[in-house]
C-alpha cells in the first residue's frame, strides 16, 4: 500500500506526447500518498468524504427502523410504555456513559494519530476497544435477563402478567421486537467497530500509521462516533417511554 507507485507512473507518462511534466510538490515524495491524489490533504479529504457518504446511507438504514418505531409507538402506546418500563434503566444509562467515554477516547486516539504519537494512539485505541466490549457485555446481560423473563419474541415469549403491566400481550411483544431489532442492529455495528479499531491498533503497533497516513484511524473514528449517536437516540426512545415517575 505504501509503495512509491507515483515515481513509476510518472516515468511512463513522460514517454507519451500528452505527458504532463511531474509536479514538484513537497508531498509527492511521501510514500503515504496514493498516485491518484494531488497531495496528502486531498487524499485525506477524499477519505473523509467517502466515509461521510457511507454514514449518510447508514442514517437512512437506521432511519427506516426509527420510522417504523414512530408509527407503532403511536398506534400501541400502552404496549410500548409497558415494555419500556420492563427495561433496566440503570443498565441503559450505564451503557450510555460507557459509550460517551469511548467516543471521548476515540477522539483522543485520532488526535494522537494526527500528531504522530504512537504510544498514546495505541493506548486510546485500546481504551476505546475495552469500553466497546464493556458496552456489549452489559447489552448481552440485559438480553439474558429478557430471556429469563421469557420476553424474547419468536423464541421465548410467554411473559408473566406483571411484566405486561396491563397492556395487551401482542403489543408488548411488538415493542420487544423493536427493542431486539434496534439494539441488535446497533450491537452488530459495535462489533464491526471493535473489529475496525482492533485492525487500527495492530497497524499502530506495527508502526504502519504516521501523522501523514492516519486517515484510516480518522474514518474509523467517524464510524465509531456515528454508532454512539445511534445509542444516544435509542436510549430515550427505548428506555424512557412515558417516564419513570410512576
Amino acid at each position: 500500500m505504501a509503495t512509491p507507485i507515483r515515481s513509476t507512473s510518472m516515468s511512463e507518462s513522460a514517454a507519451s506526447p500528452l505527458a504532463v511534466p511531474p509536479r514538484e510538490s513537497v508531498h509527492s515524495a511521501s510514500p503515504a500518498l496514493h498516485h491518484q491524489f494531488e497531495d496528502i490533504e486531498q487524499q485525506r479529504d477524499a477519505g473523509n468524504f467517502g466515509m461521510w457518504v457511507f454514514l449518510a446511507t447508514e442514517m437512512l438504514f437506521f432511519g427506516g427502523v426509527f420510522t417504523g418505531y414512530i408509527i407503532y409507538r403511536s398506534l400501541y402506546y400502552s404496549g410500548f410504555a409497558a415494555g419500556s418500563h420492563g427495561l433496566e434503566i440503570d443498565l441503559g444509562a450505564a451503557m450510555m456513559f460507557v459509550l460517551l467515554a469511548s467516543s471521548f477516547t476515540m477522539a483522543m486516539a485520532v488526535h494522537a494519530a494526527r500528531e504522530g504519537k504512537h504510544r498514546p494512539l495505541i493506548g486510546f485505541l485500546t481504551a476505546t476497544i475495552i469500553l466497546g466490549v464493556a458496552f456489549l457485555g452489559m447489552k448481552f446481560t440485559e438480553y439474558f435477563h429478557k430471556w429469563q423473563e421469557h420476553m424474547v419474541p419468536g423464541l421465548n415469549f410467554h411473559p408473566a402478567l406483571e411484566n405486561l403491566r396491563g397492556a395487551p400481550e401482542r403489543t408488548v411483544e411488538l415493542f420487544m421486537c423493536f427493542y431486539f431489532f434496534m439494539t441488535g442492529l446497533h450491537a452488530l455495528h459495535m462489533i464491526i467497530g471493535i473489529g475496525l479499531l482492533t485492525v487500527m491498533a495492530i497497524l499502530a503497533w506495527r508502526r504502519k500509521l504516521s501523522s501523514e497516513n492516519y486517515n484510516r484511524v480518522e474514518v474509523s473514528g467517524l464510524y465509531w462516533h456515528f454508532v454512539d449517536i445511534i445509542w444516544i437516540y435509542l436510549f430515550p426512545l427505548l428506555y424512557l417511554i412515558g417516564g419513570r415517575y410512576k
Binding site: E41, D45, N48, F49, W52, V53, L55, A56, T57, M59, L60, G63, G64, F66, T67, I70, I71, Y72, S74, L75, I89, A93, M96, F97, L100, A101, S103, F104, M106, A107, M108, H111, R114, G221, L222, H225, F226, D228, I229, I232, Y233, F235, P236, Y239, L240, I241, G242, G243, R244, Y245
Partner: protein, 99 residues
C-alpha cells in the same frame, strides 16, 4: 481548506458537557412532565448529537462539501419519516385500512 484542529481541552470540555446531558436525560425521566418528557429527552439527544458531530467528528472544522453530505442525509431522513407518517396518520380520514 487546511483546518485548525480542536485541542485536547476542547475534547475534555465536550466530554464533560455530554456526561452532564446524559445524567440530565436520565434524571428528567423521574419527573412527571407529561408529554414534555419525550420532547425534552429528544431535545437533549439532538444536543448531544450536535456536540459529537461538531467537535468529535470535526464538522465544525471541516469544509463545505462534507457538511452538504450531512445535510443531505438529514434531508432524506426527514423526507422518509414525514412522507411515511403523512400516509399512515391520514388513513382514518378516508377510512383506509391502517398498517
Amino acid at each position: 481548506m487546511n483546518e485548525q484542529n480542536p485541542s485536547v481541552g476542547t475534547y475534555i470540555l465536550v466530554f464533560m458537557a455530554l456526561l452532564v446531558l446524559a445524567a440530565l436525560t436520565t434524571g428528567i425521566a423521574y419527573v412527571d412532565l407529561g408529554p414534555f418528557n419525550t420532547v425534552i429527552a429528544l431535545a437533549i439527544a439532538v444536543l448531544k448529537m450536535t456536540l459529537i458531530g461538531l467537535f468529535f467528528m470535526h464538522l465544525w472544522y471541516t469544509r463545505g462539501l462534507t457538511r452538504i453530505v450531512v445535510l443531505a442525509g438529514f434531508f432524506w431522513l426527514a423526507l422518509m419519516i414525514s412522507f411515511t407518517l403523512a400516509d399512515v396518520f391520514t388513513r382514518p380520514w378516508i377510512n383506509t385500512p391502517g398498517p
